[in-house]
Symmetry: C2
Subunit: 727 residues, 2 copies
């Protein structure tokens, strides 16, 4: 065994040296001494590309999507995001704010609109003067997190709270990119890379959030860096340098610790890992062109960049750096009265929790919280027109701030489109039993608001789907690339019976590690007004009395109004079913039912990790599928305001355990959608989309079917299409 390891070492050493020599001889900008070697921008295509502006759209499709200039944007609605000019003002104001001015280095980790108080927004109407504009800023100043309010009217910093050191704000894009360069200054790191036969020019490294597991993760901002070989493939994710983990201080950019345990694990081959169409040797085209067509244009309008009006719906839409998509003031025009009715004040993806199921050294900490650690909006790349969204889509940009406060545009980050899949909105045909010959069917057309956040390897597609019947479906698609683990095995028949791989052997030397995804949504429901109640409608088996009926049992529905938060901590049980309603106790339908919306689960998964496990403490917002809290503007992020290295002392579970009254109050519904993912070979080298969803569905909100009077399709209304010229 010892001899074999020595042999391996020698083999890698020789190979490494050979590669180094080869690189030396062939690379035009070859570093001549170590100092240059450390500057990865000068030699690694990986690093080089990183220094490009991140607004790049796909150069092969320069005309697709849109390019808007935001320099003259003006807010029209109190919830409109900060404009380029406003972000510039915030930066200027902060730069003369004493605590920041005094600091040699401070970084801005969030620069967002501080939304006006809810009652003010609810009262505000188009034509009214704009409500005062304020920015909410999270800054790290000399290692401390500050929560600041910048009043744009008075140019004053009206709040500057130093936050407790449990957790840190979302990493900046600069944090992420610079962290990956830090290991290169470390000799041990470079040595092991070379020893493993990797050309430094092929090195690709990722900043992986460390989580929190005790003292060692406290009092400084840390990141773990793991690296891959991108030789012969852009899909470096499939070529891990297994077992090599570098702990980096995010502020000092210093290497704190290197763990180097996987020397005996080969880097998996690049074969079959390429996923770009341009690189496929045998493209496979099995289908004729197919397209959703609307020759008279879409049926929705976008007023003042953010107000979406479609069918009976009206809502405010904006991009957020942390949540990605923020939907506000969702209202439905009642088909009977013609009046706009409130449904939801605000909805957003509050937090993701993605624990990997491998407790070993290089994997145990992988328990990501993508919204709070990486920022879903920051990771939501420009959507690819015609492929990420159909031809009829409208694109919306995000305007965010860099670490130094400079505004930048995340272009084509959200798309909005109408969808028709051939589905049926409602139908009824009279059967031969009655023979009445009636056939009535209505096509189902929906409006989709989409973003796709690429948090490194994984791609999260989040759709808010609005139906004409008042239903809102929140649908999540998972695609992208797996986070995989290197292994010496190339076939399952090599694995000793008692050895557990923590996942599936996907390809030679590649294990797809089992993991979960939990997506927690913040849904500030305002069903016909802010004051609502949460009602659990239980379906329970009821036995009939002796002789009462030939039936011995039936399911009986009983309504239970939740008085306090603990009444609304819900774990789903297939054999203890219930409906979950948010109702307005003050408003009833004509026949006396309270108006409401219910949350309807689709397929989902629950977190089974131990309650005492540090990741589950931090991710305790996944302990239930549903929570209901009283509205509190400081409680919007399920994992807490500061999530990086958070310790689980300030999150949804903690808030809910206060057990505050929630009956007939302004309440917020939280829903967690879960996935267990045991990878399979089909997920290699890029995963076909897996999706699930849940619905917010009117329940006695309308007097009757709100789409009863919608017309059927008739041939004469449908478009006339011909193949495109080139086709």
């Amino acid at each position: 065994m010892e001899g074999r390891n020595l042999l391996r070492f020698l083999f890698f050493l020789v190979t490494g040296l050979f590669l180094l020599l080869f690189t030396w001889a062939n690379f035009p900008y070859l570093p001549s001494h170590k100092a240059e070697l450390l500057d990865c921008t000068s030699f690694s295509p990986w690093c080089t590309s990183k220094s490009k502006p991140h607004l790049t759209t796909n150069p092969s499709n320069p005309t697709r999507g849109h390019r808007r200039h935001h320099s003259s944007d003006v807010p029209h609605h109190p919830l409109d995001p900060l404009t380029v000019q406003e972000i510039d003002r915030v930066r200027t104001i902060l730069s003369s704010h004493a605590p920041l001015k005094a600091s040699k280095r401070y970084t801005l980790h969030a620069v967002d609109l501080e939304e006006p108080a809810k009652p003010l927004v609810l009262r505000w109407k188009k034509g009214n003067p704009m409500l005062p504009r304020r920015a909410s800023v999270i800054a790290v100043v000399e290692g401390e997190s500050h929560l600041l309010t910048v009043d744009l009217a008075t140019s004053q910093v009206t709040r500057d709270d130093v936050l407790p050191p449990s957790g840190y704000p979302t990493m900046t894009v600069e944090d992420m990119t610079t962290a990956t360069k830090a290991p290169l200054v470390d000799g041990n790191f470079n040595r092991t890379i070379i020893e493993r036969g990797i050309d430094l020019a092929d090195l690709a490294c990722l900043p992986l959030s460390t989580g929190w597991f005790g003292k060692s993760e406290e009092k400084r901002r840390l990141i773990k860096v793991q690296c891959y070989s991108m030789k012969d493939t852009v899909n470096f994710y499939m070529r891990p340098i297994e077992g090599l983990t570098v702990l980096v201080d995010l502020d000092s950019k210093q290497v704190v610790e290197i763990s180097d345990r996987g020397q005996n694990i080969p880097i998996p081959n690049a074969a079959n890992t390429e996923y770009r169409y341009s690189a496929q040797s045998k493209p496979m085209n099995l289908l004729n062109p197919i397209s959703i067509e609307q020759p008279k244009g879409p049926s929705f309008t976008v007023e003042n960049d953010h107000l979406i009006k479609w069918a009976n719906w009206e809502f405010h839409l904006k991009a957020g750096s942390r949540a990605g998509v923020i939907i506000s003031r969702v209202m439905f025009r009642d088909p009977d009265t013609g009046l706009l009715r409130n449904v939801m004040y605000k909805g957003l993806t509050s937090e993701f929790f993605v624990p990997y199921m491998d407790p070993t050294d290089a994997w145990y900490f992988k328990t990501y919280m993508d919204a709070g650690e990486y920022g879903l909006g920051l990771q939501a790349m420009p959507l690819d027109p015609l492929n990420d969204c159909p031809r009829n889509a409208y694109y919306m940009d995000g305007v965010f701030a860099a670490a130094d406060g400079t505004p930048f545009v995340q272009s084509n980050m959200i798309c909005i489109f109408e969808s028709y899949a051939g589905d049926i909105g409602w139908r009824h045909a009279e059967s031969p039993i009655t023979g009445m010959g009636i056939r009535e069917a209505r096509p189902k057309v929906t409006l989709v608001v989409r973003m796709a956040a690429s948090v490194a390897n994984y791609d999260y597609i989040v759709d808010w789907v609005f139906q004409t019947d008042g239903l809102i479906r929140i649908k999540v698609g998972l695609s992208g690339i797996l986070m995989v683990k290197g292994t010496p095995y190339v076939n399952m028949n090599q694995v000793p019976g008692q050895e557990y791989l923590y996942g599936t052997l996907l390809s030679e030397n590649v294990i797809g590690v089992i993991h979960d995804h939990y997506l927690t949504f913040y849904l500030d429901m305002d069903v016909d007004g802010p004051d609502n109640s949460f009602v659990k409608v239980n379906l329970e088996k009821q036995m009939t009395a002796n002789g009462e009926s030939p039936r011995t049992s039936f399911l009986k529905a009983t309504r239970k109004v939740a008085k306090t938060e603990k009444d609304a901590q819900i774990k789903f049980k297939l054999y203890e079913p219930a409906e979950f309603h948010v109702i307005n106790p003050s408003k009833k339908t004509r026949v006396g039912n309270p108006v409401g919306y219910k949350v309807v689960a689709g397929g989902t998964a629950a977190s089974l990790l131990d309650q005492g496990d540090p990741p589950q403490k931090r991710g305790a917002f996944t302990n239930n599928q549903i929570w209901v809290t009283p509205y509190n503007r400081s409680e919007q992020w399920a994992g807490g305001l500061l999530v990086s290295q958070s310790q689980g002392d300030d999150n949804l579970a903690v808030w809910s355990d206060r057990n505050r009254p929630i009956e007939n109050k302004d309440i917020v519904l939280w829903y967690t959608l879960g996935f267990h993912h045991i990878p399979c070979q089909e997920d290699f080298p890029v995963m076909p989309t897996v999706s699930s969803s849940f619905d917010l569905k009117p329940v006695n909100f309308f007097e009757s079917n709100p789409i009863l009077r919608m017309p059927p399709n008739v041939e004469n209304d449908l478009p006339i299409c011909k193949p495109a010229a080139s086709a």
Copy 2:
């Protein structure tokens, strides 16, 4: 109380007499004596329309869909359904079969292809001589059920088994229509109808299966008839004559018993019940035309009427009178080898179970099994082109036999179309973390096979959705009209606190009664061949050893191969998650994983009725969400071959409890999709579609992502469309 009842009686008597007088004076074909009154065809629009041929397509759209003449159909594939000519032959052969010839009256309840033995079909190839054609017939002869085989080559009846009297076959359409007329010969029935103020001309009656609750439902074919008023609305379902139930002998057409308990319950008003577009006074058009367009035509072909080829898929499709849609020989062309690989030998909707949750006299028996009692194919009306299916759909007919053996065509019963909803097949964009500027996304296009069965009030939309990545989604949509209950209440504030309504007050005097839907699918999986195993992959919390890891827990996957049937009786548990694989233990991927498909649940519901309750005994196939049985050609219908009035002694639960070996055998997977339905006002007067689904998903079936090489959409391939002339 007594006095009040007398007053009520007098009121209804006077109203009834008045209505009778009014009818007398106004109705052109007024019956002059009782004998005529009994012949409903002469006066009731309801009955009149029933006598129309049930092949009618919507007269307002005569050109939509297609009309095929089936007189010259010839079978090309061993699984092709019986042709018109073959059914005619079966009828002729049976008419001279001694036991039937000797009988004055016999009725045919099923005339289907008796599929050749599975090994023969598997061996058969295009170009081979056709396998011998046989028909399987279920006939009722003098009150006894016979199972017959008719050999079409020899014109012999080769089998004639008298079946045990536990249960009866599917009702014929003639059973259903004639049963509803039977009550009209009964004086008591007519009296109570008139007393309740119903003009007999407005009477609409439904044949409701009685279920089985003991001796009284045995040894004769029974049906319960309940009636409605169709005055001023085609939506008579919303105007129940509550509490009036007529038990009818289906063979003698005699009234056995009348239960008349709801005299004090008014017939709900017709207001707002109309759903036909032509009858809407204020149509609501909020959307521009939208359509799925394929100017170069669909990408699928239909060979010899039944063989569907699309993308990498190939399968045989036919209509069945009981199952509706039958999909066979499902194969996928492997993108690596180019070879066709078996996935599923046969898939169909085996049984539905729809128990209502009201144990009172007029409702307790409503525990329908729609496939075995009513026939999903028999109830699947012509689909409405452009509304039930998009413009690019292809339509397939059913050819069935009437009670006397005459073939008839259920036209446009199934549609097949390609769908594109703007969804994403897979994607990956490189984030700013790497800055590589990669954006790859592929549109998701699917092939949908659809039927919509209108079992009286309810409409079941069953979609088999094929994805290019090998996934099959089975999706069920529920629409149509609720089965409602009359009530004296017009507002919830009239209901005494302790009174339970068994449902929701939907409109004045209308209660939508709580009910469940269970749809059990028969899925004869043949993953790369008939011999497969069922593997449960459990995810269980595993605690780490002290000091092993900063993590205290992770989820560990363990594989358990089911040895016998009881190992595969699966109840889903959110907190005991598992994957359910059907694998081929003899075939492994390159890296050594067994090839397989997994069944992936979406949102679902479980039956909670008491195990001893007669309906649950009959519906015991819903006791688990998954069952696996060894292939046995006599076990195809989850509720048993004879389901009407079945006693629960011959169904999936009984078969599975034999606990036969299922490892490395030809096995059948059974999946039950469930819905709890607590009606809400939005379901009145016709329900917006509610849907759920489950998936059959490749799991290490392919070496890698099978759609990796699919091309993205490019503008030049997409159609050029303009608005239609009239639009």
